[in-house]
């Protein structure tokens, strides 16, 4: 967590943005893999400080195909904690005031439910925000 950035409370009605790596995107069905919603601490951006295009642009690997939106309240409903976790600038990355964590064990159904609760808001093919 950044020393100079103070974490704030994220309300249930707030929107979180998650980058989707190309390995998690099935080009045949157009579906996103539930594997994209994994990890005890899943990094997301709070859309108060970064929009979908910003979120996609933060990735330096060039492998991001999409950005999806999740409601903070929905994440909490799925037994997850949502915490604002702004990060400081490092040698590899800029400071990110939007950085937040969806924290908690993600069982297989939870991963699927997070996937099903997400909405596609940005796709690399078009390079622009969808809605």
């Amino acid at each position: 967590m950044a020393d100079d950035l103070i974490p704030e409370e994220i309300g249930d009605s707030e929107t979180l943005l998650r980058r989707i790596h190309r390995h998690f995107f099935d080009p045949d069905s157009g579906r996103i893999s539930s594997g994209a919603f994994d990890g005890l601490e899943m990094s997301v951006n709070w859309d108060k400080y970064a929009n979908a295009a910003d979120t996609a642009a933060q990735d330096l690997t060039g492998n991001i195909l999409a950005v999806v939106a999740l409601s903070a309240g929905k994440c909490r409903h799925l037994e997850q904690e949502v915490q604002h976790d702004p990060t400081s600038e490092t040698a590899e990355a800029r400071a990110n005031q939007a950085h937040s964590l969806v924290r908690g064990k993600k069982s297989r159904p939870i991963k699927q439910k997070l996937r099903d609760a997400s909405t596609l808001v940005w796709q690399a093919e078009f390079g622009k925000t969808i809605c």
């Binding site: 390995h23 998690f24 099935d26 594997g35 990890g39 060039g62 297989r108 699927q112 690399a124």
Partner: protein
């Protein structure tokens, strides 16, 4: 560039090799257009979207220990063992060339491939996936090739999707994890899950049949 060799190569196969070989300099019209130059590290992922084309590279291995480019050993340059290269051969597995291609791609993923902390897929897990799919293809009347995806924990997952149902089969340290979901009336979704040890392939086949053969109810596994 001294010691350089060059060849027109299909990029889809070669991108994993770049990371493995640690190629540090190259010349290419495409590469130059992507903002790379001599002496810069090659981040192969920057070539996203160029998977179907051919382009010319000139590469100089980082040290004498690295193998020089040799078109006759293109798969060997991926640094994969003979056992894993066996998997690549779609004629032997009966799986599509596209799937085999995907398999090789996953084999070459490095730690942090997701831009965060993801582990590389374990080779034995991918081998288990292929073995299971060969079995499934032989044992079932309707074989639908799945989408293969890595997991951030170093395992892999097979997925089948259609408008009504999803089926995920994840290889785990203990065996297999199976998750299904189905859209019900009113667009609500039901979720199902089951575990299977490595000797319980029949459970996975039943779950697969639920998806592929449109069985009415989730199997009691």
């Amino acid at each position: 560039m001294s010691n350089a060799t060059s060849k027109d190569i299909p990029f889809g196969i070669e991108r994993g090799a770049f990371n493995f070989m640690g190629i540090q300099s190259f010349e290419s019209g495409l590469a130059a257009g992507q903002g790379f130059g001599l002496g810069q590290s090659l981040n192969c992922s920057r070539f996203r979207g160029r998977e179907e084309g051919n382009f010319r590279i000139e590469a100089r291995p980082m040290s004498a220990d690295f193998p020089l480019y040799n078109s006759e050993t293109s798969l060997s340059r991926l640094g994969l063992s003979a056992e894993l290269l066996f998997l690549y051969d779609s004629k032997r597995t009966g799986l599509s060339g596209r799937f085999s291609h995907r398999l090789v791609e996953l084999m070459t993923l490095q730690i942090g491939w997701d831009g965060e902390k993801a582990k590389s897929p374990k080779p034995e897990v991918l081998a288990r996936m292929v073995g299971f799919l060969m079995f499934l293809k032989r044992e079932t009347a309707v074989f639908l090739e799945p989408f293969l995806t890595p997991t951030v924990e170093g395992y892999a997952q097979l997925e089948w999707h259609d408008a009504q149902r999803d089926l995920d089969i994840e290889a785990t340290a203990q065996g297999w994890s199976i998750t299904g979901s189905e859209v019900r009336a009113g667009q609500s979704r039901d979720y199902f899950e089951a575990d299977a040890c490595s000797r319980e392939a029949y459970k996975i086949v039943e779950a697969y049949s639920w998806f592929a053969e449109r069985k009415l109810t989730w199997p009691m596994i």
